[in-house]
Point group: C2
Chain length 214, copies 2
């Protein structure tokens, strides 16, 4: 068994909500055990450039804490990858960003990747990783903060965004906000659109699995 | 069990040599079975821009053949990714390039990725995927064709290139030529350099595993 640390960028006292990404990874990668820690002062998560910026130093602290407690690899469970590059210089273990992981996996699955996210614009690093396979980015209307996404209205808005991307010609949908992992929408998005779909927490888990296995 | 197709860009009648990448993937990802096919007219593999260019249409044909025989995902087992983008538009199943996969995994493991390859210059797509984490590219001296690498001298030249990259400050070594998978140098490179090392066939296997599992 390998010990993985996971940083949530949503501040919450709800233990089920806090641990849901770690539980997904443990379920799909049975050789991994996950310890989760959330950053402070972000009850609405990371959903714009201001909350992104304020998360960066807090993510670095959380990564350092998890590494010092014995995590062999740390996942930053946010698809905008706040503090990921900076954390890599701060600890000796690998740091996986859910956004980079989503981009890498999505680029392997098709040539016209449609991206759904919560930030007003798509993260630059994700654009770079998708390279010639990027098609379009959509922030669903009426979804402004992380918790808006994990509601019945959020589910409908995300599925609608998937259909818009499909109608634009997408062959892959990248779910570029880990609230969509919390929402558990992967299989429903596949069934609704008929396309390949990438879940950011499972993509991060895949790279963490590689990091601690080979 | 999921059926994976694998394209070799080395033309060979040696069944062991032909199947070695598939055997590695089956060993490390036990839910995958691999069918291998090699392209014609490349007895020295892909080792310069001329052999790269001539491989492209042959790879596309091989990917189409494997997909039509029931492969659920096809790996192009060459780190320069000849015909990968083109094949994606030609078949309905995912096509994984070993080069893209190596870049994606390497970028998740550190901030200063040293790359070892056989082409005179590094493939552009790999540079793009590594983004801010690219450090340097080395083609080992005296290694000019694929089969040069799978010799005792090739082993030494590759390990020396790893040490040069380490001395330049690399924290990750990306083995960007699948002849280094054939050489089986992953663990020796890790032991020699003390760094994280990415094997291109195992990286491609990882993304193929994702493609057929979630």
């Amino acid at each position: 068994m390998a010990r993985i640390g996971l940083v949530r960028v949503l501040t919450t006292n709800d233990i089920h909500l806090l641990n849901i990404h770690g539980a997904m990874i443990e379920a799909f990668y049975p050789t991994l055990t996950v310890s989760t820690r959330s950053i402070p002062d972000h009850p609405d998560g990371v959903y714009d450039w201001e909350t992104f910026k304020s998360a960066v130093p807090l993510v670095i602290d959380a990564v350092k804490g998890l590494a010092s407690e014995g995590s062999e690899c740390v996942i930053v469970s946010c698809a905008s990858d706040p503090g990921v590059l900076e954390s890599r210089s701060a600890v000796s273990v690998p740091v996986i960003g859910a956004g980079e992981a989503t981009g890498a996996v999505a680029a392997s699955l098709g040539t016209k990747v449609g991206v759904i996210g919560i930030l007003p614009e798509m993260p630059e690093r994700l654009r770079e990783i998708l390279g010639p396979s990027f098609l379009a980015y959509i922030k669903p209307p009426r979804i402004n903060r992380t918790l808006d996404m994990i509601t019945p209205e959020g589910r409908i808005a995300v599925l609608e965004a998937g259909m818009v991307l499909k109608n634009m010609g997408a062959d892959v949908i990248a779910l570029a906000c880990t609230a969509m992992s919390t929402l558990g929408i992967l299989q429903e998005m596949k069934a609704t659109t008929g396309l390949r779909v990438v879940d950011p927490v499972l993509a991060a888990g895949l790279l963490a699995y590689h990091a601690v296995t080979f």
